[in-house]
């Protein structure tokens, strides 16, 4: 202690009280009792620790045993608190009281009695001020602009005041409410509004270790915690211990809408703000509720508006040293669907099974899928098994029933990279009857079978490439698709490309199937660079020509009329109106058609090399008796009109133009 002219200074290196501990306290009095300044290098109250506290009292009294301060202003570190503080301290009995008055009705009263019992009542404390006081404990930075008020009580019972063997060093009880709470990070990715929260904690201290339990009941308001939007209704119950900077949550249970039970344990290093160890178990989550709220924003935000979920999932997650270490998911009758931009889309389910994942070891996932749908095709039940290793996924051979055949995936392995999934495998389509396939697709019924052998299926971000051939045996010939590519399969630009080769297609069967009249004979077709968007052709270079060989070649009157009708106003059958009506069929020697589709326009041509002086092109060249030619004159045919006309021709609603 030093005393000078009208000045007094007191320095205390250490004060230990059951309720608090002080290091390096200094008190300066100037001008008699006019002013007091109290400086504390370190103050610990319960589990909270504050550094560099300064209390400047406009009026103070320094005597023995009473010390008092009126109109004090408190500064913690570099933060000035907008409070006026009155303090009375009886050094003889140890009794102390402090009353802090803030803006508006904000007020905090603290009283310590001779036994060391500390009781505090807080009313309308601004959350921003509470955040400053709690900053040593709470991770949220002060820059998060906290708003709202806190009301509550704090009670610290010293060993003399509490008769509890489990709390030989004291007990801390805190309870209260937050009303009109808000917070917001600078980037807006973490924010809350109109928050109403009830909280309660009860902790005992024993040999420097806190043990306690508490609850937080979120009763109103909403929050955005990127990428999740959360609404009130959750309740958290916790129990655990804390020693030094180490917080151990031995039990934490969260009541959340759509989840039967959610429990966690954790070890947290508060100083480093680091999750040392954590485990989370989710029991029977209703995917219809948690899927859109928790899963879609995380795994597929770009399709979050379209993704649909059903069924249930239970899960376990383990984090070790801040890194995801284990995940187990058990699906129970789960369903997932992603409707396409123009209808159709993909759906799987119900799906049941277990998917385990380990960061540093392999695991095996096994699920059974009761069915599915891809566009208009229904998939039968199948099982999927896969070996999981880090970011790598290797499927066991799996057979997915499709109508009366199956799609068999073999050796399919995928690896997740920074830009998406890459992988490869083999696909075989075991024969599917064309009758069932065309029925499913809503097409006229056809005979034959579809099969495929794809020795190299390759997955790249935005592309599925099938190196091999898809073969359809139909109309006594075959159609083969090669160079199959599905690009941007889940986006708006989803499209399929392929080269098609058809050989020896029986026109009699084909025209009968499509009720196009009757043509006997065979054709070959080559479609290069076919592109389908939403199953509609948008680009190709197609050529159809009579197959080589000797076979009967007849064309019915109706087929002639229909071919003519397809060409619109420019097409004609080179035969007189009166003559065509006399015969049912005509002979022909060759037929051919060439169409290059670009920008919804079919650039048309006829039999290769069959030029005419009038710029017409020959679609059917006559041969035999009676014979006729079918000539096209319109070389730019609107594709949509052509399709419309074809549909009308098939339904028999279009009359040909004859001249």
């Amino acid at each position: 202690m030093t005393i000078g002219a009208g000045r007094l200074a007191l320095a205390v290196s250490r004060v230990d009280h059951p309720a608090f501990a002080i290091r390096d306290l200094s008190l300066h009095a100037a001008g008699g009792a006019a002013s007091l300044t109290l400086e504390i290098a370190q103050l610990r109250i319960g589990a909270s620790e504050f550094r560099r506290l300064t209390l400047r009292c406009a009026q103070g009294e320094l005597g023995y045993p009473f010390i008092s301060c009126r109109g004090g202003r408190l500064r913690i570190g570099s933060e000035d608190l907008p409070w006026r503080i009155d303090v009375d301290l009886d050094l003889e009995t140890g009794k102390a009281s402090a009353i802090a008055r803030g803006e508006g009705a904000a007020r905090a009263d603290f009283h310590a009695d001779a036994n060391g019992r500390l009781h505090g009542r807080i009313a309308r404390l601004p959350l921003a001020d509470a955040a400053v006081l709690l900053q040593p404990l709470v991770a949220a930075p002060a820059a998060w602009k906290a708003g709202g008020v806190v009301d509550g009580e704090i009670e610290w019972l010293t060993p003399g005041a509490v008769k509890d063997a489990a709390a030989p060093d004291g007990r801390l009880i805190v309870h209260g409410t937050i009303d009109g709470g808000s917070f917001g990070s600078a980037d807006g990715l973490h924010a809350g509004e109109k928050l109403g929260v009830d909280f309660r904690f009860d902790a005992s201290r024993q040999r420097g270790r806190w043990r306690g339990a508490g609850s937080i009941d979120w009763r109103s308001g909403a929050a955005y915690w990127h990428p999740f939007f959360l609404e009130a209704g959750a309740r958290l119950d916790v129990a655990g211990t804390m020693q030094g900077d180490r917080l151990e949550l031995q039990r934490a249970s969260l009541r959340l809408e759509g989840v039967d039970a959610l429990a966690a344990t954790a070890v947290i290093d508060l100083r480093r703000r680091h999750l040392v160890n954590g485990a989370l178990t989710v029991s029977r989550a209703d995917l219809a509720i948690v899927g859109p709220r928790w899963i879609a924003p995380l795994v597929a935000p770009q399709a979050a508006e379209r993704l649909r979920f059903a069924g249930h999932v239970s899960a376990g997650v383990h984090v070790r040293d801040g890194v995801l270490d284990e995940v187990d998911a058990a699906f129970d009758q789960a369903g997932f669907s992603l409707p396409g931009a123009a209808g159709g889309g993909l759906a799987l389910g119900p799906v049941s099974g277990h998917v385990p994942w380990r960061a540093k070891a392999g695991s095996r996932a096994e699920v059974s899928v009761a069915g599915g749908r891809w566009e208009r095709l229904t998939l039968g039940p199948f099982s999927l098994a896969a070996e999981l290793q880090g970011d790598r996924l290797a499927f066991a051979r799996s057979s997915i029933p499709l109508l009366d055949g199956a799609v068999v995936l073999d050796g399919l392995a995928m690896q997740r990279g920074t830009d998406g999934w890459r992988g490869s495998g083999q696909v075989v389509v075991e024969p599917v009857s064309m009758r069932l396939l065309t029925e499913a697709l809503g097409l006229p019924s056809m005979g034959g079978v579809l099969a495929a052998s794809i020795p190299a299926l390759k997955l790249h971000p935005g592309e599925i490439a099938l190196e091999g051939a898809l073969l359809v045996s139909v109309f006594d010939g075959y159609v083969q698709a090669t160079g199959l590519r599905v690009r941007e399969p889940f986006g708006v630009a989803s499209h399929l490309s392929a080269d098609i080769e058809a050989r020896h297609i029986d026109l009699a069967q084909l025209t009968d199937t499509f009720r196009f009249g009757s043509i006997t004979g065979f054709v070959d077709a080559d479609v290069r660079g076919l592109e389908l968007m939403h199953w509609r052709p948008v680009r190709f270079d197609a050529r159809i020509a009579s197959s080589a060989g000797s076979y009967p070649r007849r064309i019915s009157q109706r087929a002639v009329q229909n071919i003519s009708a397809l060409g619109g106003a420019g097409a004609s059958a080179a035969i007189q109106r009166g003559v065509i009506g006399l015969f049912d069929t005509f002979g022909y020697s060759e037929l051919g058609f060439h169409c290059v589709l670009r920008a919804d326009v079919c650039l048309a041509d006829g039999i290769a090399g069959a030029r005419r002086a009038d710029d017409g092109f020959v679609i059917v060249r006559g041969g035999g008796v009676p014979a006729l030619d079918v000539i096209g004159y319109n070389r730019r045919i609107d594709w949509n009109e052509l399709i419309e006309r074809l549909q009308r021709v098939i339904s028999g609603k279009v009359a040909p133009e004859l001249r």
Binding site: G188, A191, G462, R487, R539
Partner: protein, 140 residues
């Protein structure tokens, strides 16, 4: 600002962007049905994104994507939707860069296409929009 005006702005942006972005070797103006579908999708979405660019909630990143840079001005209940909107836009942009590279017959050009587009999006951003330069956000 009316929808019609926004469509006009977007149309001008595209019209101005694509020819200018054509590289010496590749044709960034190339048109395919898939690219047209992506453009249409992006044009429709732009009506929702434009006010977010203007408010600074969303900015044009240096890697050819858009980013949620300051959501604090967006109503809380809509921040998730804005986040989804940004993700959907970025999915379309990634697909657009891939499609243009493919349509040029050089899928391996995707990174170059993306880089070129990133520069152009930023160069042609309207005054007041936030763009990323050297990793930092700046307001044009």
């Amino acid at each position: 600002m009316s929808v019609r005006v926004w469509i006009g702005i977007l149309w001008l942006a595209f019209a101005g962007l694509l020819p200018g972005a054509a590289g010496a070797q590749g044709n960034l103006d190339i048109d395919t049905p898939a690219i047209a579908a992506l453009r249409t999708s992006m044009q429709q979405r732009h009506l929702q994104l434009a006010p977010l660019y203007a408010s600074g909630a969303v900015g044009l990143a240096g890697d050819g994507t858009v980013a949620l840079r300051d959501a604090s001005g967006v109503p809380l209940a809509q921040r998730g939707q804005v986040s989804n909107l940004v993700a959907a836009e970025n999915a379309d942009r990634a697909a657009l860069y891939r499609e243009i590279a493919r349509a040029n017959g050089h899928p391996e050009w995707e990174a170059d296409v993306r880089r070129t587009f990133a520069q152009r999006w930023i160069e042609r951003a309207q005054a007041g929009w936030w763009v990323q330069a050297g990793g930092n956000w700046v307001r044009k």
